[in-house]
């Protein structure tokens, strides 16, 4: 069974020039897989993630024909009920750990607080769980890190701490919004390995939002390509380099490559027809409903 089913998701914001549609009819299913969402800034990829978690603040509004988690609608739930789902069943890792961790609280206190909020239980048990989670994300000296403040750890470690915090309540779905963009390449691989293991070992569903096409092609199972608030193409990640949509092809071509030097980089010529043209899609359904 699919974990998450989204049909015709729309997010709108009122502006002085009328209604702005940030997401315009996005549909997809998520199984126990690594689903990449790729697009440029302003394509609506982050807003899609936020809408699923109910994090679009008024005056923004979310509409959908369907937004189901395990067959139950989570569209526009009251905040009190959404809070039970957020963190517990669907978690989110943001781009920059510097802005997502509380700077005046030790890391241990933050993880313990997050865990007890969702799972309750005694402080000592939560502390043990926090230590286990830090070890699970490959932090070598969890005892020391528990007592450290966010400014005392590096960016890569901060991001792993964020992941540890998000994973403590054992969510079914993790939405990772550019989780590695602020990290160096060597640290990036470690963070990706951790998320990869969680998908395989725990059967978690991962929505991996990124602007990095090559990374998504290598890391994910399936990719949605977004342009101007819509999905223009969905395809298996291994087929990304034979993408058919001119926008996807244009993005791929505009990347400089070490193995294929060229004097000038091809520049993307945007077409008005991309905004409302047909989606090139094999199917909305996931090939991996029951796990990889």
């Amino acid at each position: 069974m699919t974990l998450l089913s989204v049909r015709n998701l729309r997010v709108t914001f009122p502006t002085r020039q009328g209604e702005f549609q940030a997401v315009r009819g996005v549909s997809f299913d998520l199984g126990r897989e690594r689903l990449g969402v790729v697009g440029e800034s302003g394509s609506g990829k982050s807003m899609t993630g936020r809408a699923i978690l109910g994090l679009v603040r008024p005056p923004g509004r979310v509409f959908a024909d369907r937004l189901d988690l395990d067959g139950q609608s989570i569209l526009n739930l009251p905040e009190r009920r959404m809070r039970k789902i957020r963190g517990n069943r669907i978690s989110m890792v943001m781009q920059d750990p510097k802005f997502s961790l509380n700077p005046v609280m030790t890391i241990g206190d933050q993880i313990v607080e997050a865990y007890r909020l969702h799972a309750g239980g005694a402080r000592a048990a939560a502390r043990q769980k926090a230590l286990d989670m830090l070890a699970a994300v490959q932090i070598r000296d969890p005892e020391r890190v528990m007592g450290a403040y966010p400014h005392e750890v590096s960016g890569g470690m901060g991001q792993r701490i964020m992941i540890a915090m998000m994973l403590a309540p054992d969510p079914e779905i993790l939405i990772a919004d550019e989780p590695t963009s602020a990290l160096d390449v060597s640290v990036r691989t470690e963070v990706l390995n951790i998320m990869d293991r969680l998908v395989r070992d725990r059967g978690m569903g991962l929505i991996f939002i990124s602007h990095d096409l090559n990374l998504v092609a290598q890391f994910c199972d399936r990719v949605l390509i977004m342009y101007a608030g819509r999905i223009v193409e969905t395809l298996a990640a291994r087929d990304l380099h034979s993408a058919r949509h001119p926008y996807t092809q244009g993005l791929l071509n505009s990347l400089p490559r070490l193995d294929a030097p060229q004097a000038r980089l091809p520049v993307l010529e945007r077409q008005e027809s991309w905004r409302d043209g047909d989606t090139i899609a094999e199917s909305l359904e996931t090939e991996f409903p029951g796990g990889l």
């Binding site: 800034s41 060597s186 602007h211 990347l255 490559r257 070490l258 980089l265 520049v267």
Partner: protein, 250 residues
């Protein structure tokens, strides 16, 4: 054009002193494009900032166009030779200055005449129409802002441009436009570039030679062909090249 010898840069005082750059040496010939790569904290941006005069706690020798630099004072002739483009075009433009104000102030500071005509030419040079002249930064996209920042750097008609991650805040399609613009400008004006980037593919595209930095030291200086073929002499460089190829499942 640029000679850097035994450059040390530090921050703070003992016992909290941090040595951000240690004994760095490299030369950049006139008209060449030179890359500095490494992870965050490796000191690559710090070298640029020391050259530009934004950091004065350094020792060693920096020579620009044959003239040694003083750590504390830079004269107008220096800023006519060397200009810098910063990483984040959202932060490097004054939010309440129009494009016209940014460029005319720079031109006036450089003692240029005929400012009106020069602004029009600068905007043409960086591929922005005249219509952009009286816009404010919030009315521009990221790529357009970076074009304004490049126009501001070109206003002094410099010979050496210091580029600090000029495209890392931009989308890949916009990055392609800015990299093409930088290539064109270098060919047109015979500029020399020193470019800092964490993206080896970008440096491979833009530069002739590069230095690889780790922990404040230059571990290797190589040319771009060696980078493309992956024939680095140092383990660290090979790791960096392998990591930049992307993600290989463990």
């Amino acid at each position: 054009m640029l000679k850097v010898e035994n450059l040390n840069v530090w921050f703070g005082h003992a016992p909290d002193r941090v040595d951000a750059v240690k004994q760095a040496s490299f030369h950049v010939a006139e008209g060449e494009s030179f890359g500095l790569v490494g992870e965050s904290g490796s000191g690559k941006s710090t070298i640029l900032r020391a050259i530009a005069g934004l950091i004065d706690t350094w020792s060693g020798r920096i020579e620009v166009a044959g003239r040694p630099l003083n750590a504390r004072r830079r004269d107008l002739a220096f800023y006519k030779t060397v200009q810098m483009v910063f990483q984040d075009p959202y932060a490097s433009l004054h939010p309440r200055h129009s494009v016209d104000a940014v460029l005319s102030e720079t031109l006036r500071l450089q003692g240029m005449d005929d400012i009106d005509r020069r602004i029009a030419r600068l905007l043409d040079d960086v591929g922005l129409g005249r219509g952009f002249r009286f816009r404010y930064p919030h009315q521009l996209s990221g790529g357009q802002r970076q074009r304004v920042a490049i126009a501001r750097a070109l206003a002094a008609e410099p010979r050496l441009l210091l580029l600090d991650e000029p495209t890392s805040a931009l989308d890949v399609s916009v990055q392609a436009e800015i990299l093409n613009l930088l290539s064109d400008l270098r060919a047109e004006h015979g500029l020399t570039y020193v470019m800092v980037s964490h993206d080896l593919a970008v440096v491979g595209h833009m530069c002739d030679r590069l230095a690889v930095m780790q922990g404040g030291s230059i571990v290797e200086t190589m040319n771009v062909d060696a980078l493309r073929q992956g024939t680095a002499s140092q383990d660290y460089t090979r790791q960096l090249i392998a990591a930049s190829r992307g993600y290989a499942r463990a």
